[in-house]
């Protein structure tokens, strides 16, 4: 690791003021610190968001669950409010990485990093969450731009994420055999409202960035049942190919995981 200057700002404004040039914001550090240890990143300054009050915490009013950006995965996984309102979200948080990662990693950090194999983007997109920053609000559909790329502008800091509570939802994850990241993760959310966006299906791990599966959403809106998606053939174009899974295999797994997610949501 190369040397850097370490800052502990006490407010989001102070943090934003420091976030310029080669400086990096530090949330849970589960990607950034590893990258620095491997000497692949050498930021001039590290701005630790961990000391800013009010960035962590969970609120639920029955219709919306609002989670602070610095809330750790473990806290989401164990939150009685989240488990009650959106059990699939708590379950997803409990599936991220290992115990150590979940104790340090944060929701905001995961979204800002937007790793193509991260779990949270699937929940944010499927649940149509709203991402609040120090500069404004982002709709989920417009937030995830590409691999490690989001709608965030330099100096923009996520403060909280508001998740609408669905009627039912589930996340199924096929883990990469080595890294245990999502090789294919499918989040299915049914808002029970009928019409457009009544069911949202978000897929992570399979492509360069999380995406919605329109054909499945339509089929599930018509009938929320496993057989609605079981025979949908997902196109492999644009999906990732690597040592562990070809695009063809990933496309196949999207269907299998979607089917299993619907089964789980119905349980």
């Amino acid at each position: 690791m190369h040397a850097f200057k370490y800052h502990r700002p006490s407010s989001v404004n102070d943090a934003a003021a420091l976030a310029k040039g080669e400086a990096k914001l530090l949330a849970g550090g589960q990607t950034l610190v590893q990258t620095m240890k491997l000497r692949l990143a050498s930021p001039s300054d590290i701005i630790d968001l961990g000391t800013i009050k009010d960035l962590a915490g969970i609120k639920s009013d029955g219709k919306t669950v609002t989670i602070g950006a610095m809330t750790r995965h473990a806290d989401v996984a164990h939150s009685a409010d989240v488990k009650k309102a959106i059990p699939a979200l708590a379950a997803l948080a409990g599936m991220i990485g290992d115990r150590q990662v979940r104790t340090m990693g944060t929701l905001g950090g995961s979204l800002a990093n937007n790793d193509p194999a991260a779990d949270y983007p699937a929940a944010v997109l499927a649940l149509n969450a709203t991402i609040t920053t120090n500069k404004g609000k982002h709709e989920a559909d417009k937030f995830f731009k590409g691999m490690f790329e989001t709608a965030l502008k330099p100096g923009e800091i996520i403060t909280s994420i508001a998740f609408p509570v669905p009627k039912r939802a589930a996340y199924t994850k096929f883990k990469n055999p080595a890294s245990r990241f999502a090789m294919v993760g499918v989040f299915v959310a049914d808002f029970g409202t009928g019409g457009k966006d009544a069911v949202r299906v978000a897929v992570t791990g399979a492509g360069p960035v999380v995406f919605r599966q329109a054909e499945m959403e339509k089929a599930l809106a018509a009938k929320f049942a496993p057989e609605s998606v079981a025979n949908i053939k997902v196109k492999q174009d644009g999906l990732n190919t690597d040592l562990h899974a070809s695009a063809e295999y990933r496309a196949h797994l999207v269907t299998v995981m979607a089917k299993r997610a619907v089964e789980a949501a119905l349980k």
């Binding site: 690791m1 491997l38 000497r39 055999p177 080595a178 890294s179 040592l243 562990h244 295999y249 797994l253």
Partner: protein, 784 residues
């Protein structure tokens, strides 16, 4: 007298130290005026070094020195030696290209050593290493062993045309071909035994220090065999007398073979410590370990089994290309030959076997022994062939094995080994029962109802351990003896310190060996300490590998104990005023036949050190004996493994439902430790078959260079093992022991792949059986 300790489940003495963080690993050693090294490594698999510019790096903060291959050449440091000479089919010695510690003009794999940077801190050394500018002319690379001899393939070494180290063979080819010509059935398989990356939990580390006061060196190093390390480094590389070099490897966190070898880093820090006149320490990080620790396996094999109509084996014909990597690591040459082809008889009376092995150089990390070393590869050949033959002949896979089991001992195989003893039906019977093979078809039906595919596979393995009779090893090309040494030092008040040339890097020798000693001397185990891993304390040692420690190292200790007890008998006879011939000894007590006279071992020890009343005319005072033991034969642990899997055809995920292992390790000293060894071995074997596979791209870049892409098995990947043992004591060592460290890794891959291919209903499929590979195999089957 205490209860017998042989066979007791005694908790490991060393674990308090390990569990409380009090272990002394190499990286824990911090010497006064310590400095730190980093290595500049090649980013290319094959390149000519045109120029190395170190000026900028030298000016970097905290840098003490930078040395390149030129400096090593000027200092006349030799290359890293290979410890085993293989003679090829034409009677010519294998090709041994120079293996410089730091590259001389050319790099041959990603991670090859280019320069060593020594600095005040480890971070400063790394910073400076990044500033060493190397101008490379990149050459095409060859990484696939089966392509290394192709026309036009890039050539690694001038002295090894066609990248060929040797073509070696064993067995009667003409007789073998004749048997095949007459066979009723031939089973043939063509497969790759996948390359593995060892990944001991403690990365390699070396801390060299030079003392100007007496012109001597001390090397602290994570090694499985400190004396061998010293011998190789002094005599073959640095040209130093051994008495001026001390090698210390106290606590070592796992080796699995990868810490047997003399590595470039070890030599470099030792040599550099004199140049900078300060201790120089290097500790590998995990990324470096992936690139630079010797890899394992990597065979491409075509294997055939000839059978008569009743499933009796007539002959086996095997052709293997072994990828040894860019250079010959310390024991690279003997692994795919002596430790591989000689095991191809397995547990069977196959009368004729011929095996030809071609060892090739490629632009990859050197390959050497990894847990099992040759024997997992051999077992995979034999047990995949046997299981496949049974399926082709519609015979029960256990029955075909029983029809061919060797049942009379000693048994001379057609591939050089003489099995002393075994009972293969006994382990097969026990394994079938424990695995509930009888209930399998019912379980298969239940799986089918859930849409799952269930399969069962066997592996009846054998291994040759307790290496090795030095004369045999020497005749086969070993450049060292393979005995072991031990010393029993009895203290005046009767407690004992034992010094062993074996090395424990997780195996629990401090407990197992102490059990043997305490049992023989009739004392509590607390009164015995085992010391290993320091050339200044231990008289000599060949170290630990090939499951040899208890069979060879343990026997050396027993021989020394015999001498202690015999001398004690003379002292006891004197003390009891009896004739020596009338004195009897049993676990700590000397008695005079037909009387109630007795002397405890402790009293005898005291008399030896406070010799007021002592037979000075016949004996020296003191009670301290040592012994060297050269084994009379290999030992032959064997067993039957039964694996049962359930495959999800939708995703390709394999779940191991049951894994049953029944091993015959001869006499067992500590069943708990043995079970731990079996569990660990099985897990590594399952790793090879299910999750692990080293992969390079065509340019020689390591694609599986971290745990993000290289998958070692985790707790959730393996089942609760069902293990048991059967016992035929080894006939040629006093403890009747055979060794248990590698069995699991040897037998597991074949059992698992036999189970998976059974579940899928396919003849063969590649390892590792990752979800994608299983899914693809099923898809191909459907398409066919």
């Amino acid at each position: 007298m205490n209860a017998p300790l042989i066979g007791a489940r005694i908790e490991r003495k060393e674990d308090y130290r390990f569990l409380t963080g009090a272990g002394q690993y190499t990286d824990d050693v911090e010497l006064p005026r310590q400095s730190y090294a980093a290595f500049v490594r090649s980013p290319h698999a094959h390149a000519v070094i045109k120029k190395i510019s170190i000026e900028k790096a030298k000016a970097s903060s905290g840098v003490l020195a930078i040395y390149t291959g030129e400096d090593f050449a000027a200092a006349k440091l030799g290359g890293l030696p290979c410890g085993w000479l293989i003679t090829d089919v034409n009677g010519q010695p294998m090709k041994e290209p120079p293996h410089p510690c730091l590259a001389q003009g050319k790099v041959r794999y990603v991670g090859d050593h280019v320069a060593i940077v020594v600095a005040e801190t480890s971070e400063q050394a790394r910073d400076a290493a990044e500033l060493v500018a190397v101008d490379y002319e990149v050459l095409p690379a060859v990484v696939d062993g089966s392509k290394a001899r192709a026309k036009g393939a890039p050539q690694l070494h001038d002295i090894a045309p066609d990248n060929t180290c040797y073509v070696w063979a064993i067995g009667d080819k003409a007789a073998c071909d004749a048997a095949f010509a007459k066979a009723a059935h031939v089973t043939k398989l063509d497969f790759i035994n996948n390359r593995l990356i060892p990944n001991a939990i403690e990365p390699r580390s070396a801390n060299g220090s030079y003392s100007r006061a007496d012109d001597s060196y001390t090397l602290y190093v994570a090694s499985q065999n400190p004396h061998v390390e010293r011998l190789l480094m002094t005599a073959f590389v640095m040209g130093l007398p051994e008495h001026k070099v001390r090698v210390v490897s106290r606590d070592v966190g796992g080796g699995f073979g990868s810490k047997i070898y003399l590595y470039a880093e070890d030599v470099a820090v030792t040599w550099a410590s004199k140049q900078v006149n300060r201790p120089v320490k290097w500790t590998s990080d995990r990324s470096e370990a992936f690139l630079s620790d010797a890899h394992g396996r990597d065979h491409h094999t075509v294997a055939e089994l000839a059978l008569d109509k009743d499933g009796k084996f007539l002959a086996m014909r095997v052709k293997t290309t072994a990828n040894v990597g860019a250079y010959l690591s310390t024991f690279a040459s003997c692994v795919p030959t002596i430790l591989y082809a000689t095991l191809l008889a397995g547990q069977y009376k196959t009368p004729v076997i011929h095996c030809e092995v071609t060892a090739v150089f490629t632009n990859t990390t050197p390959v050497d022994a990894y847990r099992g070393a040759g024997r997992p590869e051999a077992t995979y050949v034999v047990e995949r062939l046997v299981e496949t033959a049974a399926r082709e002949l519609k015979l029960d896979p256990a029955e075909i094995r029983r029809r061919n089991f060797i049942t009379e001992f000693p048994y001379q195989t057609p591939v050089a080994l003489l099995y002393d003893i075994g009972d293969y039906n006994a382990t097969m019977d026990a394994a079938q029962k424990l695995a509930d093979v009888a209930g399998f078809s019912k379980r298969k039906e239940e799986s089918a109802k859930k849409g799952k595919l269930r399969g069962l596979g066997y592996a009846a393995y054998i291994e040759a351990c307790g290496i090795a009779p030095s004369a045999v090893a020497g005749a086969l090309g070993a450049r060292a003896g393979l005995f072991e040494a031990g010393e029993v030092r009895v203290h005046p008040t009767g407690s004992v310190t034992v010094f062993t040339g074996s090395h424990s890097h997780g195996q629990g020798h401090e407990t197992t060996f102490a059990q043997v000693v305490a049992d023989r001397l009739g004392m509590p185990i607390e009164n015995v300490d085992i010391v290993h891993g320091d050339t200044s304390k231990i008289l000599f040692g060949m170290g630990t590998y090939g499951s040899r420690s208890i069979a060879v190292g343990g026997t050396a200790i027993v021989k020394a104990l015999d001498k202690v007890i015999a001398k004690g008998k003379k002292i006891a006879a004197h003390l009891m005023e009896a004739a020596e011939t009338d004195v009897e000894y049993d676990r700590g007590v000397y008695t005079v036949k037909g009387t109630d006279k007795k002397k405890m071992f402790g009293e005898v020890a005291f008399a030896a050190y406070v010799p007021h009343n002592y037979p000075h005319d016949k004996l020296e005072p003191g009670l301290n004996e040592n012994a060297f033991y050269d084994p009379l034969n290999f030992t032959f642990p064997a067993g039957t493994y039964v694996c049962e899997v359930e495959v999800d055809p939708e995703t390709g995920v394999v779940k191991i439902e049951k894994f049953t292992a029944v091993d015959d390790f001869g006499k067992i000293i500590n069943p708990m430790i043995v079970e731990g060894q079996v569990h660990g071995g099985l897990t590594q074997g399952i790793g090879q078959a299910l999750t692990e596979g080293c992969q390079y791209d065509a340019t020689g870049q390591l694609l599986t260079g971290s745990f993000m892409d290289y998958s070692i098995p985790r707790a959730t990947d393996v089942p609760f093992y069902q293990v048991d043992t059967r016992e035929t004591p080894c006939t040629h060592n006093p403890l009747g022991v055979k060794g248990c460290g590698e069995a699991g890794a040897i037998g597991a891959p074949a059992a698992l792949m036999n189970a998976i291919t059974d579940a899928l209903g396919v003849k063969d499929m590649p390892m590792p059986a990752t979800p994608q590979t299983v899914w693809q195999t099923l898809k191909n089957k459907k398409a066919a």
